[in-house]
């Protein structure tokens, strides 16, 4: 077995060509995910553009776009001549709160299954409710 070693940065990006999510956004989300899980902390350097490009065979502008988006979100900052570094953190919900939410969701799931919904029905219902909720939140916020 061979293991590709990345010469810079603490994370490896991977791309899902079937997801329909634009490539730059996949990179942005993977950095955010790594922040939430603690793989990346402030001060860490993101993989150098050239290394990402050589590993994934993607356009360098795509990586630059992803890093600019992370800068725009206040999660990273470019240092001239050095690269892009993690600056911010994402709000991490405390473990106890997460566990309480998980229990609530499990109760709701058993209700949904008891009502006769299958996995896809539940996913569709959840997505639709999430969509409505975020839209309501957006209206209130603006």
């Amino acid at each position: 077995m061979t293991i590709d070693k990345e010469s810079s940065g603490g994370v490896q990006f991977r791309l899902d060509p079937t997801s329909g999510v634009p490539t730059y956004l996949q990179i942005v989300r993977q950095v955010e995910h790594a922040l939430r899980l603690g793989y990346l902390v402030p001060g860490d350097q993101l993989p150098k553009v050239k290394d990402v490009v050589a590993g994934l065979a993607i356009n360098p502008n795509t990586v630059l776009k992803a890093y600019r988006e992370l800068e725009h979100k206040g999660l990273a900052a470019g240092r001239p001549g050095q690269g892009t570094f993690i600056e911010g953190t994402l709000d991490v919900v405390p473990l106890r709160d997460q566990q309480a939410l998980h229990r609530g969701l499990t109760r709701w799931l058993s209700d949904a299954m008891a009502a006769g919904l299958d996995e896809e029905g539940i996913t569709a219902l959840f997505s639709s409710a999430l969509h409505d909720a975020t839209r309501r939140k957006g209206v209130i916020a603006s």
Partner: protein
């Protein structure tokens, strides 16, 4: 600066126009996909840009104001022809020596470092290399001349998936390092989506679509809805392509300006491959920038 500008460019072979009325302004620093079915005029356009053949009509300027085939242009433009022709009986080292003697700017350490990275032995005869290695040698030779504009004609058409990936990775790393402009032709769209940021679609000898890939994909949407309403909905929108079944119809629409989704219809983003295929199926549709942005100076005497 524009890497490539053409105005009303045309090439006729005998009575047949291989390319007609081709007006383009491709900004520098981009990776441009030149896409179209076989016989669309891709190689004809590339050969005129490189200076291998002369236009029947119209003008071309490269890297600002250079005439194709001029001494300046030859030094600053690299070309990897279809099937990456090299001399099969020369060793890799002799191939490097040959190109070095023909090129005013030649970066031998650069070429050797690239080939060493890929574990390609310098003593091996070119004819004994694998398809992927062969293509990589051609790319290394082109890049070691430090071109500002690199043109590749169907560079990966005959490579297996791993060799394609490695070839594109090497090309993209060179773009990241040196900021070169790249124009590459292909009739396979899927593999270009991640690599290219600018698109030119040729069909039947004419330019059909030109633009920034993200802007093109953002500027088109898939709409799905009931077929009974399809005519009424189509009349309100700029429809590029459609597929109808008895009950459900799928439309690809341009959304510049009017983006309202009709009630009862579903809107989804599209992708580059779907977009290109829709245009190729509808030769009367086109997505071209307006006349602004064209600033070609006359370069031919």
């Amino acid at each position: 600066m524009n890497a490539i500008e053409t105005r009303e460019l045309g090439k006729r072979y005998g009575r047949t126009w291989a390319l007609q009325d081709c007006t383009l302004a491709v900004p520098a620093g981009r990776v441009v996909a030149l896409v179209g079915p076989n016989g669309a005029g891709k190689s004809t356009l590339l050969h005129m840009i490189v200076g291998l053949s002369a236009p029947t009509q119209g003008d071309i300027a490269i890297l600002g104001s250079l005439a194709p085939g001029s001494a300046d242009a030859l030094n600053r433009v690299g070309f990897v022809a279809q099937d990456t022709p090299l001399y099969p009986n020369l060793s890799v080292a002799d191939t490097l020596r040959l190109v070095a003697s023909l090129s005013p700017q030649w970066d031998e350490p650069n070429a050797r470092a690239r080939l060493a990275d890929l574990d390609i032995p310098l003593s091996r005869k070119v004819g004994k290399l694998s398809g992927g290695q062969h293509a990589q040698v051609a790319l290394a030779v082109a890049l070691a001349r430090h071109p500002e504009l690199l043109i590749l004609d169907e560079p990966v058409a005959r490579l297996d998936p791993l060799a394609r990936h490695d070839f594109m990775a090497a090309l993209m790393a060179a773009v990241a390092d040196d900021g070169i402009s790249v124009l590459l032709s292909s009739h396979v769209v899927a593999e270009l989506e991640r690599v290219c940021d600018y698109l030119v679609v040729l069909a039947r000898g004419r330019v059909q679509v030109v633009g920034d890939v993200d802007e093109l994909v953002d500027g088109h949407r898939i709409l799905t809805g009931p077929t009974v309403e399809a005519d009424a909905v189509s009349a309100q929108l700029d429809v590029v392509g459609e597929r109808r079944a008895d009950r459900q119809t799928v439309l690809l629409v341009r959304t510049t300006g009017r983006a309202a989704v009709p009630r009862g219809w579903q809107e989804e983003p599209t992708n580059l491959e779907e977009l290109v295929l829709s245009y190729l199926r509808a030769p009367q549709a086109s997505a071209l920038p307006g006349p602004s942005g064209q600033a070609l100076r006359r370069v031919s005497a």
